[in-house]
């Protein structure tokens, strides 16, 4: 998977305006050449190790495990990577590809800002001009990352169309790309979009699962029983899951954003309120109305607040290989605080969705069972937003450095 045209069963493919078809074919060819070029792999491995900080630890969350009283929980610490999330695995791979193709300019969309920061970082590293599209609402709620991108020399363009979040940022990035197709490479930030993006992004992230597999075999001398990851477009989840797909004993759960509950326009759980459609280059599950107009979404987490899901996840869902659950805003916020206070790790709000589902499910499992959660990013970007929501946002300078609530 996928087939030569990028189909995962009935999903995937390449649904784009004609101007993009040939450039996507060229990208595909160059990517497959690079994939089989030892020099490309060596250079990628070098930067992943020396710049990004791979491998990341597989950390046994002993206190959380004990508190929940069920399965042993391990955290794959993608939050420890340079720039603070898994996104840089893919951004680095694609920037090396852009250099091979002789491009001079990089663009990307971003939701939480983590992919934007990762892209701005690799663009700075290799001397590319860089433009990041970000919904105006996301610019507000992830303001820290907007500053980081600007410091790294990127231009951040707020997008005011529609609901002003990730989907609109993707539309705007695609419009930029068709307009500057000869000079520009578009570093799409998730396992979504037209072929070859879903397969390419997956392959740049499979290092997460490859490492986790080796690490759990070292530490426990067996494979885990359950893998869990949050699913926005699906890149961190497919990165963890992919190397385990042929291990029938390994169960997998992707966790979507349940927002305020499964009510139209109040969530982003495509497998719970979505249907088959075609959006932004690919065929997959999407949230849409009866006429095929794309519905509004909501999530406390900007990185999961998206109306569509990657085509490989759609395929794995329909095959019954991966299960898809959702966590509401409320549960994700609880998990965010709980991980901070039991393990000393502040997770990204996106990753907190996976933690929330693990908190629900671990107590129902046996003590000898093993869960691996992909901790896809750290929560620095979310600190202000969460502080307001959980009532920790009083003045910190006026002598009120108290312990806060809960």
């Amino acid at each position: 998977m996928p087939d030569a045209e990028g189909h995962f069963g009935p999903f995937g493919g390449r649904y784009v305006p004609e101007t993009l078809v040939y450039p996507l074919q060229q990208l595909e060819e160059e990517y497959f050449r690079a994939q089989h070029d030892p020099a490309f792999q060596q250079e990628l491995d070098y930067y992943l190790r020396e710049f990004v900080g791979r491998p990341t630890p597989l950390y046994r969350a002993a206190r959380l495990t004990e508190e929940l009283g069920g399965a042993r929980i391990y955290l794959k610490r993608e939050d420890l990577l340079h720039t603070g999330a898994h996104k840089i695995n893919n951004a680095l791979g694609q920037v090396l590809l852009a250099r091979r193709m002789g491009k001079t300019r990089i663009i990307a969309e971003t939701g939480a800002g983590q992919h934007g920061v990762a892209t701005a970082t690799v663009a700075a590293m290799f001397g590319f001009q860089c433009v990041i599209y970000m919904g105006a609402v996301d610019c507000e709620r992830q303001a820290l990352n907007v500053y980081r991108m600007r410091m790294l020399g990127a231009e951040v363009v707020p997008v005011h169309a529609g609901q002003k979040t990730l989907k609109e940022a993707v539309n705007e990035a695609m419009r930029d790309w068709v307009t500057h197709i000869r000079s520009t490479h578009y570093i799409l930030g998730t396992a979504y979009g037209a072929h070859p993006y879903p397969v390419m992004v997956r392959n740049f992230h499979r290092v997460i699962g490859d490492e986790a597999r080796r690490q759990i075999l070292e530490q426990e001398e067996r494979l885990p029983d359950l893998l869990m990851a949050c699913v926005g477009g699906g890149s961190n989840a497919i990165g963890l899951f992919y190397p385990f797909l042929n291990d029938p004993g390994v169960r997998m759960i992707g966790v979507e954003a349940g927002g305020l509950g499964i009510i139209p326009e109040q969530h982003a759980a495509r497998f719970h309120g979505g249907s088959l459609g075609v959006l932004q280059g690919t065929r997959s599950y999407i949230l849409q109305d009866e006429h095929g107009q794309i519905q509004m979404t909501h999530s406390v987490s900007a990185g999961l607040d998206y109306a569509a899901v990657g085509p490989e996840h759609a395929w794995l869902h329909d095959q019954g290989r991966v299960e898809y659950a959702y966590a509401t805003d409320e549960k994700a916020l609880e998990a965010f605080m709980r991980l901070a206070r039991t393990e000393g790790i502040i997770p990204a709000l996106e990753s907190a969705h996976a933690v929330a589902e693990a908190i629900r499910i671990a107590p129902t499992m046996r003590k000898e069972d093993i869960i691996v959660i992909n901790l896809s990013g750290r929560g620095d970007k979310d600190v202000m937003q969460v502080a307001e929501k959980v009532g920790l946002s009083g003045s910190v300078s006026a002598g009120k450095c108290g312990s806060g609530s809960s």
């Binding site: 390449r14 078809v21 989907k167 539309n171 459609g277 075609v278």
Partner: protein
């Protein structure tokens, strides 16, 4: 022969160039769309392209995005656009192409949508985000319904691909004359003549050239290289300015007449 094919056959026999006009359906409302269509028919428009409003028009520039938003705001749906086409058909035989994003067909089913469109009197479909590689079912259904699938060729399309597209095309081939989204330009692309010649090596079909043409001078210039020209955003922009003004159809019609005259004057000079 459907209406598109017979219109181009007539243009060819009269050695005339054609004018294709794009507007967003339901902008500001569908009754205005109907009136504009009838006005354009009188003004000498050869093909009317009706944009079906979509929530995420990623191939469109800001002018057409705003038109789609106004269309959605006026309650326009794919089925109400088809109903409007049926209404137009009571008074006019102007060839009509729907300019549409694939999800809107996909949602109700290709066979269903295509059958309904044909029944309403639509003559062709131009699906922005459906390349020929994904279109086997679509083509079979279009053939059965007697509608023309209109395919795009872009400046980035290599020769081998032009040939493949040309083999599948019916009605006319739409050459998108520059890399980018829809929208007006102060100058037109200089490579149009080269590209239309390359397309002609693979196809006898008429070639319409569009994207960015905004005034009669540009229309005349581009028409010397093409069989027809397409004007969209410049008209949509006028509709946006006039909104629900009762003279909307008359005023936009006057502008379209100036484009039709320019295209006709290009017909007199050899290509």
């Amino acid at each position: 022969m459907n209406r598109i094919e017979s219109r181009f056959a007539r243009l060819r026999s009269q050695q005339r160039k054609g004018l294709v006009v794009y507007i967003g359906a339901g902008d500001p409302h569908l009754e205005a769309t109907r009136q504009l269509a009838l006005e354009f028919d009188q003004a000498g428009v050869d093909v009317l392209e009706l944009g079906v409003p979509f929530s995420d028009p990623l191939a469109d520039g800001v002018v057409n995005q705003l038109a789609a938003q106004r269309g959605l705001a006026s309650g326009t749906t794919p089925s109400s656009v088809l109903k409007t086409v049926a209404d137009i058909r009571r008074d006019s035989q102007i060839p009509i192409v729907l300019y549409i994003y694939f999800n809107l067909l996909h949602r109700v089913g290709l066979d269903h949508f295509i059958a309904q469109a044909a029944a309403a009197g639509v003559d062709g479909l131009l699906i922005l985000d459906l390349p020929p590689e994904e279109a086997d079912d679509y083509e079979a259904l279009m053939r059965k319904a007697g509608m023309c699938p209109i395919w795009l060729v872009a400046p980035t399309t290599p020769d081998a691909r032009i040939e493949r597209i040309a083999r599948r095309a019916q009605g006319f081939i739409y050459y998108v004359s520059r890399e980018g989204v829809t929208g007006m330009q102060s100058t037109v692309s200089t490579s149009i003549g080269d590209m239309t010649q390359r397309i002609r090596q693979h196809s006898q079909l008429p070639i319409a050239v569009g994207f960015g043409i905004s005034n009669p001078d540009q229309a005349r210039e581009v028409a010397t290289h093409a069989d027809a020209i397409v004007v969209g955003s410049a008209i949509v922009n006028r509709i946006a300015q006039l909104g629900s003004d009762p003279t909307l159809a008359a005023q936009v019609g006057a502008f379209v007449r100036s484009l039709a005259d320019a295209v006709r004057s290009a017909s007199a000079s050899p290509a």
